[in-house]
Amino acid sequence: MKSTRAQGYLLSAIIFFVFIALWHVATLQTVHLAEGTHLAPAQIAALEEMGMATGDIETLAAAGLSFAQMQQLAGLGLTLEELEMAGGIGAFGFTTGEGGAAETAVTGFPGPGQVGREIVNQLSDPFYNRGPNDKGILLQLLYSLRRVALGFGLALLVALPLGFLLGMSPVFKTALDPYVQILKPISPLAWMPLALYTIKDAELSSIFVIFICSIWPMLINTTFGVAAVKSDWINLGRTLELGRFNLAWRIILPAAAPTIFTGMRISIGIAWLVIVAAEMLIGGTGIGYFVWNEWNGLNIDSMILAILVIGLVGFALDAALGTLLRRFSYKA
């Protein structure tokens, strides 16, 4: 038992290092030329064949021109010097991004070393706040977590009593079932425009979207868990004259707890999936917006870091509810 675990973890570590190594090798190839050059060897060879000097290719690539643009230039048959005399590449209608951004943009997919440096860099000051488009990654994460906590908490407050009602009363269950069945499969993001229009507040709208996506698994599981409580236990409570509140609190709730926590676990997973998408749509703050913002700036390494963080947080949320679930589980 112990040794299978150890073997498993060893294998995990091996997979990790193999992945990093492959990643490293795969990203090496495109940057084998001078700093800032983004062209593949085959592309350089093609340009050279069209009569462009190797030095010129490197300079133009460093300036941020694409392969297509350079092919056009090569087609003109001019040297770089002649180009400069003719008024620079701008005169030919070629635009390159502003220096810095273009440079990182054209270096292609970052290698593990570069992402590692970015991780250290970001995590050395994770909570900085320099205006709307420049916040530390963990600060953005806190915005997302806050939205999830609020939306999920509200959903729990509604789902639990409502689930009890539906689970205990077949009439209400039958009455509300069609609504639940129709509302449940609606993508939470489909609510977003309507929420924005009605609530007129981006923050509240995203909380609403989390609320609406996390309520269904909790409602359905609570209903099912409450309805499935063994009738012997209910009868026991009745013969002990427990009263409605004590019956619910001391018999039905603990009996249904594992099912309810399973619902909560499903809900928090969905909420975490949805918040990233919602923040990409709404913008402003949050880890989803962070990813979107880095994509717009083509900071691939920050993006990778953010994706990693999203995965880790999702894992932590699931593990936390898994622990709660185990705490309240029982063997029948």
Partner: protein, 300 residues
Amino acid sequence: MKKQLVLSETLTKAYPSENRGEPELVVFENVNFRIREGEFVTCIGHSGCGKSTILNILAGLQSPSKGYVFLDGKEITRPGLDRAVVFQGHSLLPWLTALENVTFAVRARWPEWTKAQVRAHALEYIEMVGLKDAFDRKPHQLSGGMCQRVGIARAFAIRSRLLLMDEPFGALDALTRGSIQEELVKICAATGQTVFMITHDVDEAILLSDRIFLMTNGPRAHVAEAVSINLPRPRDRAEIVHHPGYYTIRNHLVDFLVSRSRELSGGRHGATPVPVHNAKGELLFPPDVDPLALSETVTR
């Protein structure tokens, strides 16, 4: 003669038939019986004759279609702490330990007690069923027999007027069943608890009972007779079978189950209505039968 504690009067349970036009299904009809204070009564009858239904009506968990049951002169209409129920499955709360399962009931019975009082009282009953060393275990860590013992401790702990048990040992193996039966004999002797129990085990019924209610087959089942078990107490499972009257009683019961229960059955359409009242309009109870006295008359 001890005071009468339970009275069942013209108790009837019928279910509407599934097909239209067919008469309703009368499970049992005009069931009359009395249980005296401190008496141990078992009820035997073929499966489906309505034993569990009668027990549930006594518990207040089901209601009759017609007739009444009284506890101490008061009609039973809902469940209450004056009755304790041991269900067929152990029905322990699996998230609580053995002791907590008992304190759960004790707290409900005496809400004004302190924690220490509740615990001490519950422990007393846990010890009584021989589970002192296992009080801290959850039901899944206990054997089926131990679980049923906890259920019995819980039922006795609330000191109800009437203890109801529905085939409490049905799911246990023969050896375990034997040792719990023996404990039950002792506990009942010590506490003087009034018990109404359902069983399908004839030997179990003889060992435990003062009287055995024999029910005819359904539909329209009724209690045909109340067999008195006049064997000396305290009884011992190994010794009682050597009593000269044991097999007389046993044969009487088996004979009823094998043939008479069917012959006496009311049948689906109620061809032979069972008399409920005598000529003076008084309630008729099933005859008290003592197989030992019967056999004496025969041999004499």
